[in-house]
C-alpha cells in the first residue's frame, strides 16, 4: 500500500545514514551512502538489535560486520529517530 512520508521523516533518516557512513568509514575505510542507507533501511524496520543483526546477516552477510559495528549503527538509528531526545 502507498504511504505518505513527510520531508521531516526523510530528514532524520538522512542524518542517521550520514552518521552510519562515518561508522562505515571507520570500519571499512570506505564511505558509501548507498551502503549506509541500506543499513539504516534494515534497522528502521526492526524492533530490536537481534532482529537487525539477523537482517544484516541475510542481506549483507558477506561483509561479516562485527557485533560492535552493528551495535553502533543501531545506536545511531535509535538516537536519530524523531522524539528520541
Amino acid at each position: 500500500p502507498a504511504t505518505v512520508e513527510t520531508l521531516q521523516d526523510k530528514s532524520w533518516e538522512q542524518k542517521a545514514a550520514a552518521k552510519a557512513d562515518d561508522l562505515l568509514e571507520s570500519f571499512m575505510g570506505i564511505r558509501d551512502l548507498d551502503l549506509s542507507q541500506t543499513l539504516i533501511d534494515l534497522a528502521k524496520e526492526k524492533k530490536n538489535i537481534d532482529e537487525f543483526a539477523c537482517a544484516v546477516d541475510e542481506v549483507l552477510g558477506d561483509f561479516e560486520f562485527p557485533d560492535e559495528f552493528l551495535y553502533d549503527v543501531w545506536g545511531v538509528l535509535t538516537d536519530s529517530r524523531p522524539g528520541s531526545q
Partner: protein, 74 residues
C-alpha cells in the same frame, strides 16, 4: 552474529573485528610477517565483498529504473 562469525570471533587475532585504521597501521608498520599477511588478506576480503555488493546494487538499481521507465511508457 552468525555461528560462523561467532566461531571466528573466538579465534585469537580475529582480524574481521579490526577497524580499518588498525589493519592499515599493521600493514604500514609491522614486521610480523604472519600478522602482516593476515591484515592484507582481511583488507582485500573487505574490498572484494564491497565491490561485489556495489556491482550487484548497481545492477538492481538499473533494472528498477528500466522497469519504472517501461511502466511510464505504458
Amino acid at each position: 552474529v552468525t555461528d560462523k562469525q561467532k566461531a571466528r570471533a573466538q579465534q585469537k587475532n580475529d582480524l574481521s573485528q579490526w577497524k580499518y585504521a588498525e589493519l592499515r597501521d599493521v600493514i604500514n608498520t609491522s614486521c610480523n610477517i604472519e600478522l602482516l599477511d593476515g591484515c592484507r588478506e582481511e583488507f582485500h576480503r573487505r574490498l572484494k565483498v564491497y565491490h561485489a555488493w556495489k556491482m550487484r546494487n548497481k545492477k538492481n538499481v538499473q533494472s528498477a529504473a528500466r522497469d519504472s521507465e517501461e511502466d511510464h511508457k505504458r
